[in-house]
Amino acid sequence: MSTYAQKKGFGATLWDYLTTVDHKKIAILYLIAGGFFFVIGGLEAVFIRIQLAVPNNDFVSAGLFNEIITMHGTTMIFLAAMPLVFAFMNAIMPLQIGARDVAFPFVNALGFWLFFFGGVFLNLSWFFDGAPDAGWTSYASLAMASKGHGVDFYVLGLQISGLGTLIGGINFLVTIINMRAPGMTYMRMPLFTWSTFVTSALILFAFPPLTVGLVLMMFDRMFGSNFFETSMGGNTVIWEHLFWIFGHPEVYILILPAFGIFSEIFAMFSRKRLFGYSSMVFATVLIGFLGFMVWAHHMFTTGLGPVANAIFAVATMAIGVPTGIKIFNWLLTMWGGSVKFTTPMHYAVAFIPSFVAGGVTGVMLASAAADYQYHDTYFVVAHFHYVIVGGVVFALLAGTHLYWPKMFGTMLNETLGKITFWLFFIGFHMTFFIQHFLGLWGMPRRVFTYLPGQGFETSNLISSLGAVFMSLAVIVLLYNIIATSVKNVRVGNDPWGDGRTLEWALPSPPPFYNFKQLPLVRGLDAYWLEKMEGKKGMTPAEPVGDIHMPNASFLPFVIAFGLFVAAFGALYHMDDKAWSVPVIIIGLLITFGAMFLRSVKDDHGFHIHKEELMEDDKDKGVKA
């Protein structure tokens, strides 16, 4: 089994990635696919800003504009931010808890392929009579009236990729509960692992309502039911509830891992233990819990009545408390620390004021009475971009620089990294800060153009210029990635020199079995503890022995592909095409057939024997 160290041709590498169940390779797949969709979503954002740069612009038509904003939001949330978050969770979390893989490696691969085919399906809408155009929230009153197949692509694509996310969440939960290394108690888990844990729980309880909402909309649009058809007794507010019961926890699904990444960065580059670790854990769990209590603040103007609005307003404001706890803990982590301004640290430091600005407008929006004024204006657009870009995207960019060496074994260039940071930071504030005022001055969101002489011209132009800076930042980042990959200077275990947690005790990238011997964890920041006592690495908790590993499999790809095929059949079912039902059946047969195979064919995995592990060490010239 020492073949894994050999060089392979392109075909073999491709097949390796198509069949892999290794969490580190799946992380790379998530990173590539998520990065790809991030660029697509970014291009859509650029088109939006070009169209809005000057009044009465006709760069795109009104209909196309609706498609672009819908796809921008949907792509960024479901196909860029979530997969990128999943990339870091997959790459880092199992290493941080001292596990050799996730609990369900097969399910992990299946989760990725479901997301991937769902995302591809959704984006194929551009080539088949039009993309979805009812907004990323796809409110039923708009979606049911949407002509063409755009909304059907949305419904089916998100359904498939949502399944992938759901099983991914279950997988991480079980991994963290069952597979921690000896000594890794809950209160010794790094904050990123904690946030992965809470996020996974949110995914588990938030995605089923979305699934149901999408099923109802699919039934309505494709199979003639009447959930949202008011003339038949239906009710479109059901969609709003289901969507936001999912949708609000969803924003915490995105931001909690971002908090986790920043917690790691602050501690690492302040070279200090994270301030208030227990209160950080407590705040994370509390935010996760409160995240389910606030969905109707998106619906203040729907007409739920003053009692409901008041309850949801208060619940929403309550979330500011645990979030505030976190902000102060980060500040106090830096306080008195020996701060090193690396690229990730730049993002972390910039994140605090940016995110706090988004939080403050969040509390403003939470006041139900005032919300009637802000609702559906650019103020809301500015608010959620401050939390999502200033929080999540900053964290993803920081995480990319921070974990690149651990995932690929080479460091991204720091100078280019800082250039990326400054371009992005300036561009971000330039684009979105002014939008607060545009909103307060009365510019509605989602309009495809505006008239001259209303006082919107200069501000919109500034906003569009900001987008140029952000685009440049992404180009520099891509250049950085290519340049460092070509140079490919290999780095050791702890390339930042300040690693605190278990992943930095492993080679970069780690061997496919991660830990030859499971490490003994003696406290929070396990690796830092050992370093402070003058040790080179972790103390093993077990003798060298056989390691049980899962087999690679092509079935996850096939299962996901079957649903992709079936979705095409369902999509054209509403046109009464004769071939639609056979296509649905063929697709489901592929999926269920592959599941059946998985069920009846025993998969015991394989063992790497003790002798091979020893051999492996000799090859690399490392002492056992």
Binding site: F104, I170, N171, N178, P209, G224, G233, I238
Partner: protein
């Protein structure tokens, strides 16, 4: 303990569904899956309650005149009994008695099949006698979606348990397939519990208007 090990009645562990790491993971992961399923059905229940008796005009039959309580009562009894038989099956699984486990599982399947048959008859009865269909009103859509989702879960469970019985008919029990039987029985209990709620919320509460 390895999953492939050949075991005897004496060496068979007390909790075969949790005696390897893979089994522990499967056991816990399946509980989480059922947690997600609970939220899924909760959303469907909420939708049903919001759309109950919501019909376009007075020519449509409403819940209290529609439901056939004696029939659903029989169906309920079949499903509840099938949960009991699956408990016996797991009892024999824990005692390393594959043959008796299979007998009880087959009984479970027959009861489940009877339930499904009654449900299909019930649906066709509503469609033909009352013109209460999936597309006739929002009430119809919500009813068939909630109850139909449950029915689809029953059908999937039947196929799943059948597959397990056939696949493992010759080789008996080991620590690789014991957790599979165990989670299948967990699933079966879950759809039974969901049915208890459907019987209460849809049928019994439907009767009182």
């Amino acid at each position: 303990m390895h999953a492939e090990e050949k075991l005897t009645y004496e060496t068979w562990p007390a909790e075969p569904e949790k005696s390897t790491l893979e089994a522990k993971n499967k056991f816990l992961g399946f509980w989480f899956f059922l947690g997600g399923e609970t939220v899924l059905f909760a959303s469907l229940f909420a939708t049903y309650l919001a759309l109950k008796d919501k019909v376009p005009d007075s020519s449509h039959t409403l819940a209290k005149d529609l439901y056939d309580l004696p029939l659903t009562f029989v169906a309920t009894m079949l499903l509840l009994t099938s949960s009991l038989t699956s408990v016996y099956a797991m009892y024999h699984m824990k005692n390393f008695n594959a043959k008796k486990m299979n007998i009880w599982l087959v009984l479970t399947l027959l009861l489940g099949l009877g339930f499904l048959g009654l449900e299909i008859y019930e649906f066709s009865h509503y469609v033909h006698e009352y013109h209460h269909t999936f597309t006739s009103s929002a009430f119809g859509s919500a009813f068939y979606t909630l109850v139909g989702f449950h029915g689809a879960h029953v059908a999937f469970g039947l196929l799943w348990i059948t597959t397990l019985i056939v696949r493992n008919a010759k080789r008996g029990l080991d620590l690789y397939n014991a957790p599979k039987f165990y989670v299948a029985s967990l699933y079966w209990h879950f759809i039974d519990v969901v049915w208890v709620f459907i019987f209460t919320v849809v049928y019994l509460m439907g009767m009182v208007g």
